[in-house]
Amino acid sequence: MSETEINPTISKSTGLPRKRFYRARAHSNPLSDSHFPVPISPSQVDYSLHYPQLFPSSGQADSSKKIQFADVGCGFGGLLISLSTLFPETLMIGMELRDKVTEYVKERISSLRIANPGHYQNVSVVRTNSMKYIPNYFEKGQLSKMFFLFPDPHFKEKNHRRRVISPFLLDEYAYVLEDGGIIYTITDVEELGDWMKSCLENHPMFEALTEKELEADPVVKLLSSATEEGQKVARNGGQTFQAVFRRIVPTNQAS
């Protein structure tokens, strides 16, 4: 018997990793010290590790192509997988703090790559604390889309500073987003939805997308349907609250 056949964490029928073997806590403290390697600067991010088929040799093989989508707190990676086929030419990465969940997404991507040769080569995942290390991964204006889907609500006021959308962290997101880049947020917690919306509304470098623009954007539909959390909310007949904003150049804000 070969190794894979007895490995119970891989489903026999689909070849994909089974989620129940990658259960993790729903919450992780983003304030605690990190014990994983972090690239010193964006130029040190090894693309050949993440996208081996597109970047066969390590080092700066093709500096023209860079990661453009970041799914912050990607969870089990549902959105990434959907985006991967929708934007096959775009490099995208999921960032997740929980190591077991990251392992699952890694397995999921590699299984998909084996099952569908030539596909899913543009998607990867990294275990990191995006609240601390976003500037270590992306250069100024590198990203065109950022996703914050069903983030931890951190209800207690004492813990509000752990929220992934906060006035000060938006400064850093505005830094890595290109002019016109879009930030997508969605949650099933009304209080958090209001918070994320007001944070974005009050920030001088973001403006809301109009109804028409939301309608025309194919990605908006994925927010609630593609992720595992979104499907769970839909199953239970819950409500979702989304806020989609565009990165703009502030008007006479800075000198």
Partner: protein
């Protein structure tokens, strides 16, 4: 045993600030909660006046002191969660700002209208000094997520505020016209240090480079040169190795050669560097056109185990002021130790010489004021050097838990299921 490390963190290194004016009208030394100022023009100690008549003016260790670029203001702040702004003419405290957390760094905008300070949460606050009121409310300016800020600095042209943290980051942020609404536009991140960044200084602007170049010192024993507009690393100088303190291959003692302070002289063409185990300073040449750093020489202090904890100088007197010392030295009768030394001829016009006590500007009187005593017991130096090292260590280095410990904790987690 448990209380021991706690105590060490409360040891604060001595700080020095020199008035930027040519005539060097005042030198201030802070050791522990004590703030001592010597007026060089008058040749006597300046008496500080604070209307809240609290003595000492700070209730806990002072962590940051600095003169404004125009010399009109002086700011002191620290663990007592207050920021005091002093007029350097009258040495009266014109504003006391309360902080929610302990203060780790301060900066004054080049025109002297805004005081910025960083707290233990990694938040930077800004206070508008116009109009000057006794009690001012600070507004949040920017934040480093969950990392203590070690140094704040304005760029020479005043367009940017720079913040360095104990992770490894240096952030360059546009300083807006209305800073009370926050500074949201990040210009760049200067990334390259592998340990905490302890100090920042500017090589003043020139024709080729109107922003000026940035130099930074770090726990990784290097001094690095940066272009702040792009965040590009221009040069790295491994000062500890170059100064012969460290073998290039072996690491004798971790963090033993951290760069503790930097000061630029001659508009930054020379950079004075204090290293944690060096009895003296290293002088670096900064070549602006080739954008490189190189070691010019090592100036040693003979006769004493003098490891400077803080450096300062005025724009062009050619004197570099150094202080070493700590507050509440463990196991000593002296409540605190401060020792001031001066290197003259730093501007390169003459040979650099470490001045004897008699020939220091202000003489014995200055030393009595700033040190608290004219002569310092030799034994105190070694104890002080050790205490400073421990204090720095606790302040800047994150606790490392061995991987076995973390693995053990993971094993005992009840959510962990089969994984083979």
């Amino acid at each position: 045993m448990e209380s021991e490390p706690k105590k060490e963190t409360e040891v604060a290194p001595a700080l020095i600030a020199v008035h930027p004016d040519q005539s060097s009208v005042a030198v201030a030394v802070a050791v522990g909660p004590h703030l001592r100022v010597f007026d060089l023009a008058a040749g006597s100690a300046a008496s500080l006046i604070d209307d809240s008549d609290a003595v000492p003016f700070h209730k806990d260790n002072i962590r940051a002191v600095r003169f404004a670029a125009n010399g009109k203001l002086f700011v002191s702040a620290g663990d007592d969660k207050t920021v005091k702004v002093w007029s350097t003419q009258s040495w009266r405290c014109i504003t006391t700002v309360s902080s929610e957390k302990r203060v780790t760094a301060v900066a004054i905008s080049n025109d002297g209208t805004f005081v910025c300070f960083a707290d233990k949460f990694g938040l930077v606050w800004v206070v508008d000094l116009d109009p000057p009121l006794l009690d001012k409310k600070p507004a949040p300016l920017l934040s480093h997520y969950c990392s203590i800020i070690t140094s704040l600095e304005f760029s020479p042209d005043g367009r940017f505020i720079l913040s360095a943290d104990r992770d490894f980051k240096i952030r360059v942020t546009n300083f807006p016209n209305k800073p009370l609404n926050g500074a949201h536009q990040i210009q760049s991140f200067c990334l390259g240090h592998t340990e905490f960044v302890s100090c920042l200084a500017f090589v003043k602007s020139s024709q080729e480079c109107p922003q000026g170049l940035l130099v930074s010192g770090s726990g990784d024993s290097t001094v690095r040169l940066w272009d702040i507009t792009s965040g590009a690393l221009l040069d790295t100088c491994e000062v500890a190795i170059k100064a012969g303190l460290l073998e290039s291959n072996g690491k004798a003692e971790e963090h033993g050669h951290a760069v503790t302070d930097l000061w630029t002289v001659r508009d930054g063409l020379l950079v004075a560097v204090a290293i944690q185990s060096l009895h003296g300073i290293v002088l670096l040449n900064c070549n602006v056109s080739s954008q490189t750093l190189s070691v010019a020489k090592v100036v040693s202090v003979a006769g004493e185990a003098f490891v400077p904890t803080c450096l300062g100088s005025s724009s062009s007197t050619g004197n570099l002021w150094m202080v070493t010392g700590v507050s509440s030295l463990p196991g000593s009768n002296n409540p605190s130790l401060a020792r001031v030394r001066v290197i003259s001829g730093i501007d390169g016009k003459q040979e650099s010489v470490v001045l004897e006590d008699e020939s220091i500007p202000g003489g014995k009187k200055l030393l009595e004021t700033l040190q608290g005593t004219a002569s310092v017991d030799d034994n105190a130096f070694l104890a002080a050097a050790e205490a400073v090292k421990a204090a720095m260590y606790n302040l800047l280095i994150k606790k490392q838990y061995p991987s076995e410990n973390r693995e053990y904790r993971k094993k005992s987690r009840n959510d962990r299921k089969l994984k083979s």
